[in-house]
Symmetry: C2
Subunit: 337 residues, 2 copies
């Protein structure tokens, strides 16, 4: 009756003061054996759960951290979220996952929500190149860590993967496979990650005589890949390989190739990026550039903890190494130039 039981009710039931109840909950070691048991019994009996808002109001610190990702439909980010959640839980924190869907407006909305909640901190994969999201967080003194994005000029921690090197790995692999005309599905996308992967590929091909053909995409999902794949097949001369800015695009391209009766990798070699589970699970398992997604999520939480942990804090940029995972989609015998 009368709503949920409060700390006062527990105190009365246990015949003790509210301060003691609070101690039982937060610093059990300081309260006497017998008292603790009596209070605990009262808590259980009344089904008391403390009010997080009251706790937070008084103590000033929140127990949840916000995670704002670019696209929850991309399993890569789901893995990042999983890593973050796990690490957070190890510290007794909760994670609020939100999806900006690459829309700066949605990003702003969610950041405002986080600010109102006074979250402990935010893990952010910025939706725009300008870093306006970071700016608003900075303005409100919300600690944050950039995820999957190096902080250029922005003074903050970040975890990222060397996308230039990743692009380079992919292109070098295709080059070694004898390919001389390679498409890049991703075109001149505004996302920094995509641009970096492209420039890495470009660098790897430098001076090899092979050329990189830009293939524009409307988005970074399977449908966009299917569309780009269809266009790719119509090119003359047709590239013998395609490097896709992420696995979703690659799966779309693969599907378009199958629909057109092409063999993969004989007629078209495909390299994806992210190494999501569905890449290995595709009918022709995809060669892909793996990023340590869970580790990124975990590390981001750790950096945040470090930053909010008090004491002097020096922002750090953690950069992971990408890794090429070779599978059937590029495994044809090397063709002679």
């Amino acid at each position: 009756m009368g709503g949920a039981a409060g700390i006062k009710d527990v105190a009365r039931a246990a015949g003790v003061s509210v301060g003691t109840v609070s101690n039982v909950i937060n610093r059990p070691e300081v309260v006497g054996e017998e008292t603790r048991a009596r209070v605990q019994a009262a808590i259980d009996r009344l089904g008391y759960v403390r009010s997080e808002s009251a706790r937070q109001l008084r103590s000033g610190s929140s127990r949840i951290i916000g995670l704002l990702v670019l696209d929850l439909g991309n399993p890569f980010f789901v893995s990042v979220a999983r890593g973050a959640e796990r690490a957070a839980r190890a510290q007794g924190l909760g994670v609020m996952v939100c999806n900006s869907a690459q829309r700066p407006a949605d990003e702003a909305d969610y950041l405002a929500l986080f600010a109102e909640q006074r979250v402990r901190g935010v893990l952010l994969t910025p939706a725009d190149a300008e870093g306006s999201g970071a700016a608003v967080l900075r303005r409100h003194d919300v600690p944050f860590v950039l995820v999957d994005r190096l902080a250029p000029g922005i003074e903050a921690c970040s975890v990222s993967v060397d996308d230039v090197q990743g692009g380079s790995l992919a292109a070098a692999h295709l080059l070694a496979g004898g390919h001389r005309r390679i498409a890049f599905a991703g075109g001149r996308h505004r996302l920094q990650q995509v641009a970096d992967r492209r420039s890495g590929a470009l660098a790897a091909l430098e001076g090899s005589g092979a050329e990189l053909v830009d293939l524009e995409v409307a988005g970074l999902d399977v449908a966009a890949g299917r569309d780009a794949g269809a266009r790719l097949l119509g090119m003359l001369p047709r590239p013998t390989a395609v490097f896709c800015a992420n696995d979703l695009l690659a799966l779309g391209v693969l599907q378009a190739a199958f629909a057109a009766g092409l063999r993969v990798p004989e007629d078209l070699a495909i390299v994806g990026y992210d190494d999501i589970e569905f890449a290995a699970a595709a009918a022709v398992p995809l060669t892909s550039v793996r990023q340590p997604a869970e580790a990124m999520g975990r590390t981001a939480v750790e950096l945040l903890a470090e930053e909010t942990g008090g004491g002097a804090h020096r922002h750090r940029q953690v950069v992971f190494e990408p890794e090429l995972v070779v599978r059937s989609s590029t495994l044809s015998a090397p063709r002679t130039a």
Copy 2:
């Protein structure tokens, strides 16, 4: 300086009382034109954001709802989350998405977190058959809506899909395709959804002379499907078709079939469940039973809003109809028995 600006600072800056500032924020229509402008200016100038915890403490109601899903790695639940988020945002609410990964222990942890937060309500896809999650929510008076699960005996709202009918659709389709020996990848899984799909299939085959072969799975993901697929191929006589409890399993089976050199659907027809994006995007697009995932998320939020909206509330069970989407993985010419 000295931390974030509070409502008092704004009041002082605007030369007005705290009550008025609160009114400007929550009931702008009651405050005078000129005053409102002055206060608003102060708010902007100080970069004031209200403290959600203080608001919630006093007003009693939270602005976030918890969503606890079975598996964020399954795009089906990601779609549910997307639908829920969208609907919630339309009502000015936020969604906290968490992943129980089918572990009752994790489910309990997250529900405890939700309870502490005093969330507006919870959308729950129960991890165990006993409904212990629902019980704990009930005990703490947290309103909740069951998602993807009919509430049997549990007194609550729910949104679900008729899984029996879905299973039936799938099996009937395979039957019409001439198949007489059909495997069910999902076996006797503890999840109610899986059991229902199986019994629907069983019912459809009743009296047709066709038989359903149970194929146990270790989980409900791609890896489990790959494993089950490998076992399937060794069966004698080998079933000519397989109905999978979800698309992740189906993708795994498809991959196993390809690895063994089988043609789909000529040698093995495959039907999945959920119709996730990757089903259509598979090299051999998968026939699948579609569930209106986004609509489910949206409806769940609406039911919750109805329940918490005050006034008399009668629990409702919304049941959606599944829909068979036929694609290449079953499109062979009907074989004669």
